[in-house]
Each structure stands twice: as C-alpha cells, then as structure tokens.
C-alpha cells in the first residue's frame, strides 16, 4: 500500500521515451498514473559543456544507478564472463530517460516489420543464416504510421520528408514509408562535410538526405533554436533546443493533472496476487525505504536490460522462473547494435566538426535493409551510413589512429595536431539479426552495488558471419565514397564496437505465439493480463536505424489501446 492508501490506475516504471509517451496518452484519457523513476529530474542549467564529466558520463551524476549495476558479458555459454563494453555510452536514469541521446529520430521502413517474409520471398528460406531467429513483427508500418506522425509532430522533428502520402519529395529519403504529414520543422543546417559526402553519394547513384533530428532547427514549442555549439550526443542540452521527453511528453501529461512523478524511486520487483495478476511494485524510495505501490496496471518502461531484469527478479510460487517466463522466453532474442566506422583524413582541410550537433549530418539508406539486391552477396540486410558533426578533443585524441601512426610520442602528437580537424568517419549502423544463442539472463555470481545486492544482467552475445559480412561490405562502400571525397588514407575502426550500444533491443519479444514471445502486439504480457512492457526490449528485430522514434510510436499505440479498453470498463 502507498502511505496514503491510494491506488494508482497505472504504475509506470521508468519515465524515459517509452514511459513518458505512454503517460501522455493514458493521462489524456483520464487515467491516474504514478510514474517511478530511479533518477532525479534535471534541468538545462545542470548540463555543463564539459566533455570529460558529461561525455564520459558515468563520471557525472547522470548514471549512478546504471553504473552500480553494469552488465557482464560472455561470448557464449562456454566462454569466460567479463565486464561488458559500451560503444555509444551507458544509459541515464531520470525523468526524460537518456537525455544525452543524439536525437536521430528516424522511422523504421515498411520492410523492417516483415524481414522473414520478404527475405524468404526474394532469396529463399536458405538465405536466413543458421542459428538466426528472424521473425516478422506482429504489427506493421501501417499500424504505426499515425503514431509515428503524432510523435514527430509533438516532438518537433526537423528534416526533409521523402514520401508524403505516396508522393516522393526531392531531397528526402526515397526508401521511407509513406507519411501522412511532413516533418514539423525544416532540417538542421547542412555543414560543409555533409555537402561533400552528399555530392560523393549522389555521384555514386545513392540518395543522401539530412538526419531527421529531434533538435529545434527553428524555435518550437516555447524552446529556442539550436546554436550548433557542438555538444549534443553524450550531453544534456544547456538551452533546451534538443527535444527530450522531459520537455515534450512529460509536461503535456502533467498538465492533465493525472500524472504523479516520484523521482529517485527505484523499482525492485513487480508484485503479483494469487490470481496471477500484477498488484503493483515494490520500490526503494529516495530515503532508502522499501515501499509498495498498488496499481491496477503495471507498465515496465525501463531500459532493455532493466526491463528483463525486473521480470527475472519478480519470482513467486506461481512464477518461479520469473514473471511472464513460463516458456523461458524472458531474455531471449536480444542483440546490441554494432557501430562500425571507416576513418579518413582530408589533408590540410579544416572540417570544423567541433561545431554542430551529432544529429547534423547526411546519411543514406541505399545499402540498408533490402534496399539493394543481395543476390550473390552471401548475406542479408544492410546498414545505413553517413557523416556527422560534433567532434571534441578528448574523443578525437582517443579515436583509432591510422595504422602507420604510433599511439604515443612525437609521431602521435604530430598526427593529432595536424589532422584532428581534418579527420572524419563514415559511420554505419548495420542491422543485427537476432540469434538463438544471443540472450540475456541474470549473472549467477555478480551482484549490483546498489546496496540491495541484486544480480546484474549477463549478456551472452557474439557477432555472426552475416553481420560481419554486412560490416565488411559497408566498409568497402565507405572507402569508395571517401576516395570520391578526396580522401587518400582510410582506416577502419573496431569491428566489435561494444556489447552495450544504447541500441540494445529484444529480450522481451512481442509476438502472437505465446511460446515464442513475451508480450502481445499491444505489449501486454501473455501470462499476466495487467502487465505491460514498453521499450526496445519488445522489438523482434534490430534494423540499422535508431530505435527511439519507433519505441515511442509502439508505446503510444499500445497506451492508446489500453486507454480505450479502460474506458470500456474492462475491470482489470
């Protein structure tokens, strides 16, 4: 019971993009929502333009919970367990979720929801790699299109649309699905490097377009336009020009009067009754006391790792293997994304990549998904790729050095001084198929340092031949494009960029088959009728596209359907 004996209609665990977007729809429908977030509520004045403490942000105040419970990793069940590694960085806790995100808000393409069907139709069943677990989503692009549009309009996404109601738009992405509305804001500026890449890409027959960004290209929603200071990814925005959900969906939900936010409140388990329904959650409050919140509906909307962990920790007589895990599906079909790059130098040229946000760039989807013929290539699916702004000195100094340059001493220093403002990368986001043997479970040994001593998540993950072939293929295309841009010397970054990527998807797959998934197409747990899961954990696949916009669209659709059911008096 809560101290006042109150009972929430809905308890949302985690007020990031998934939870905040759901809260918006549920409170608008009159449901009383209590949101518990493990972190605080921050504001722009707390964000410093300090590369060290914010970018390597586990050092600042942004991620104490996440850092106290870092995941472990093994390549396979017979490999040794070691600390996980991270590419784009670790997640934040707090209202707004990972407010240091890069704000690339791209839609998945229609084909991303039916990879199994389309791949078999075009290349035959034998094209699916051995050991892979490729499925279609239980919902399609048509189901999500209205919700994509709503999220884009409320957020204020800046970009050039490629397809408005079936009509192609010049300068946009020709591979995107139809959209019922264009973007609410014009694209961010085009920087010189973007122009150079765009020319090379068009020259090679590709279709470059500006990154759709959740950053104000012009003033919007009472917030100012971006000043192109160069502190976007890994930083909170110090003027609120970046559209994070603490500035967009949360205030709208609060204005209904139906949202109560409890910060620094860390949920430790979902409680269930004798009838197998969820009864609420136990959580540790800001003072360290364990409290219970009773709720008619529980929505887990934490990050992938924590959503999986909470279900596995919520054991009971009725659910001895963890909640909603009767079929052993919790943690299965998980993958992080790898972020391979090819670096190059434009000798003597000033690129000025220390200006502008990381969402200011030009990308192309010509080699993504099934947008090109894979016949004879030996792999399926692909990657998006492009160039971006935002380079700061520590990151530049720590970046992969060319093979002919030492990593220390006079040669290294000379390389840095001469080339740091002439170096860039073509960055790729490859799709990563799901595999039977890539999964999450609880580490049997390692406990968190939260004071509660709960098991941490153990990641079992390795790269397989299909994904290695995609990376090799896009590296070759990247080198070709860089040559066309005037680059003489190129070199690759790492192939395994990190086991945690901030695009860590799956683990609580949505599907119609109860034996092969955890939640249904409305994100309701198959086994617990008043328990929902939102966030990247429910994704059946991991396309080469940033997931946040789709996380929000899927959550918005599910929340709207939940609210409709509630209104019909389902009497949960």
């Amino acid at each position: 019971m809560t101290e006042s004996g109150e009972r929430a209609d809905v308890c949302i665990v985690g007020l990031g993009p998934a939870g905040a977007t759901a809260a918006y729809a549920l409170t608008a429908a009159g449901m009383r929502v209590v949101a518990l977030d493990a972190g605080p509520r921050r504001n722009k004045d707390e964000y410093r333009l300090d590369e060290l403490s914010d970018s390597v942000f586990e050092r600042a105040s942004l991620g104490p919970k996440f850092n106290a419970e870092l995941q472990t990793w093994r390549r396979s069940p017979t490999s040794p367990t070691q600390p996980a590694t991270y590419s784009l960085g670790k997640m934040n806790n707090g209202v707004g979720g990972t407010v240091v995100y890069s704000a690339w808000l791209r839609r998945y393409a229609p084909g991303d929801f039916r990879v199994r069907t389309d791949t078999i139709a075009r290349y035959g069943e034998e094209a699916l790699p051995t050991g892979s677990a490729v499925v279609d989503w239980p919902i399609g692009y048509d189901d999500l299109e209205p919700y994509y549009t709503q999220v884009e309009q409320i957020t204020g996404v800046a970009g050039i649309p490629g397809n408005i109601r079936g009509e192609p738009v010049a300068g946009g992405n020709p591979f995107e699905g139809y959209r019922s509305e264009g973007y609410p804001l014009p694209p961010l500026r085009s920087a010189g490097l973007s122009e150079l890449f765009g020319d090379a890409a068009r020259g090679a027959g590709y279709h470059p377009y500006p990154v759709p960004a959740g950053i104000n290209s012009v003033p919007f929603d009472g917030r100012p336009a971006c000043t192109y200071c160069g502190f976007n990814a890994f930083f909170g925005c110090h003027i609120d020009a970046k559209s994070t959900v603490d500035l967009t969906f949360v205030p709208r939900a609060e204005r209904t009067g139906n949202l109560e936010i409890r910060t620094n409140s860390r949920v430790i388990r979902v409680t269930t009754g004798d009838d197998g329904h969820a009864t609420g959650v136990d959580y540790q409050d800001v003072n360290g006391n364990i409290r219970h919140l009773e709720a008619s509906i529980v929505i887990l909307a934490a990050y992938t790792f924590e959503n999986v962990r909470l279900l596995l920790l919520s054991t009971s007589d009725r659910f001895p293997g963890g909640l909603a895990n009767a079929h052993g599906q919790v943690g299965k079909y998980f993958t992080p994304k790898q972020l391979p790059r090819v670096l190059g130098i434009l000798p003597g040229r000033a690129l000025n990549r220390f200006t502008g946000p990381s969402a200011q760039g030009t990308i192309m989807d010509d080699l993504l998904g099934d947008n090109f013929d894979h016949t004879g290539l030996g792999f399926v699916r692909g990657a998006s790729m492009g160039v971006i702004q935002q380079s700061q000195p520590i990151a530049a100094a720590k970046d992969t050095t060319p093979p002919d340059v030492a990593r220390w001493g006079r040669g290294f220093k000379e390389h840095l001084v001469r080339n740091w403002n002439s170096t860039f990368a073509i960055e790729a986001q490859p799709e990563n198929l799901m595999y039977e043997d890539n999964f999450l479970d609880l580490d049997p040994v390692v406990r968190d340092r939260s004071g509660l001593g709960l098991p941490v998540i153990r990641i079992t993950f390795q790269q397989y031949a299909n994904e290695l072939a995609i990376i090799d293929f896009v590296r070759q295309r990247s080198v070709e494009l860089m040559r066309a841009m005037g680059v003489e010397k190129t070199w690759p970054g790492p192939t395994l960029t990190g086991v945690g990527s901030s695009h860590d998807l799956g683990g609580l797959r949505m599907g119609t088959d109860e034996a092969r998934s955890v939640v249904d197409q409305d994100l309701r747990a198959h086994e617990v009728p008043n328990l929902y899961v939102m966030g990247g954990a429910v994704f059946p696949s991991c396309p080469g596209i940033n997931p946040t916009l789709t996380i929000q669209a899927v959550a918005l659709r599910a929340a709207e359907r939940l609210a409709q059911e509630w209104a019909r008096g389902r009497g949960l």
Binding site: K44, D45, Y47, R48, L49, D50, E51, L52, S53, V56, R59, R189, A191, G192, L193, E195, L196, T227, Y228, C229, G230, F231, H238, I239, R349, A350, L351, N352, F354, T355, G356, Q389, P393, I394, A397, K398, A406, R407, W408, G409, R410, F412, K413, E414, L416, V417, W420, N421
Partner: protein, 198 residues
C-alpha cells in the same frame, strides 16, 4: 640520482605550482609525469603533457571519481620501476629519454619481460600503458576544472576554442576560419549567470 636520495621537497617543487598531491607519492607523481611526457612530449609543435599538468589531472582523478584505479597505479609504478631496474639499472624517472621511450614502446607493445611480482598478470604493462595514455589525453584536453590542461595548453595546441556558445552556418563550411575573442570553459555555463546568451 637515485630515488632514495632524492629530497621530497625537490619532487614537490616539480609538481604544478601551488598544488599538493592528493593521491600520488612524490615518486609516483614524478614517474607518472615522466611517462606522460613521453606519450605526449614537448616539442616544436607545442607543449606536452608535462607542461599541461596531466599528472595533476591524474592525481585529482584518482583521489576522486577514479578511486577504483588507485591500486593499478600503485602497482604499476612499482612494476615499471622493477622492469627498468632490470633493464637499465635505475628507476623509470631516472632513465634518459631514449631509455624511457624504449620502455614505453615495450609497454605499448606488450613486450616487457615478466618482472618479479607480475607472474600472475603478464598483461600489466599493456594495461598500465593504456591507463596512462587515457589519462594523458584526458589531462591534456579536458576542461581545466579537472586539474589538467594547464593554461589551456592542450586546447591551444589543437587550436580548439573550448565550448563556445555556438557557431554560424558560414563557420561550418569547409576551410572556414573560426575566430573568437577568447576560449570558453565549462565555468562559463550556464550562460545566463554570465549575462551572455547564444
């Protein structure tokens, strides 16, 4: 000069002016500074790690947010000295640049012969080099609030202007020259307090 006979006062005087050590012993500070000076040397292109005070950054960091790395430094300096004594007859900080470069090169390459006490961890040299390199670069190029980048030496070396409030479209074009009155630091934010808006 042998370590035992070095007056502590001399070593302290080599530490950044006005700053006392928070974690390192004077000998550790001198050793770490010497390694960092080889990773990022002072040369005709500009100041290096010694001049930028990266050892102060490491000292601040190890006494603060990276306390978990204290034992790696404490053990690392001992192992490094042992390896240097075995090869050159004296501790790292007392080696000349040629000897120091040879040792750093072996550390980076993982080819330092095993030394007493390191039998259970043959990778100590590579791991210690990587940690030293990371702290050298962070100490060179981080905001001065963290104890390094003295006199903004690291940023000036690169021509970096610090966290400026913003840039124009023209300044984002290739080969555009970006000029500012001064270098900004994190202490300039939030801008409202400084009376400046982007």
């Amino acid at each position: 000069m042998s370590i035992g006979s070095t007056p502590a006062a001399d070593l302290v005087s080599q530490a950044p002016a006005g700053q006392s050590l928070r974690f390192f012993t004077p000998h550790e500070a001198r050793t770490v500074e010497a390694v960092m000076g080889r990773i990022m040397p002072d040369d005709e292109l500009g100041p290096g790690a010694v001049e930028a005070g990266t050892v102060s950054y490491a000292d601040h960091t190890l006494a603060g947010v990276e306390q978990g790395n204290q034992t790696r430094y404490r053990a690392g300096v001992k192992l490094l000295d042992a390896a240097c004594r075995a090869r050159f007859g004296h501790a790292f900080a007392d080696c000349g640049h040629v000897e120091q470069d040879a040792m750093v090169s072996d550390m980076a390459a993982g080819s330092v012969p095993p030394v007493t006490g390191a039998a259970e961890d043959l990778d100590w040299a590579v791991a210690f080099f990587e940690l030293l390199r990371e702290h050298t670069l962070e100490g060179m190029f981080s905001d001065p609030v963290h104890g390094g980048n003295r006199d903004l030496a690291g940023w000036k070396l690169l021509g970096y202007l610090g966290p400026q409030p913003g840039y124009s479209h023209e300044e984002q074009q290739l080969d555009a020259v970006v000029v500012r009155d001064r270098i900004f630091t994190a202490a300039d934010y939030p801008l409202e307090q400084a009376g400046e808006r982007p």
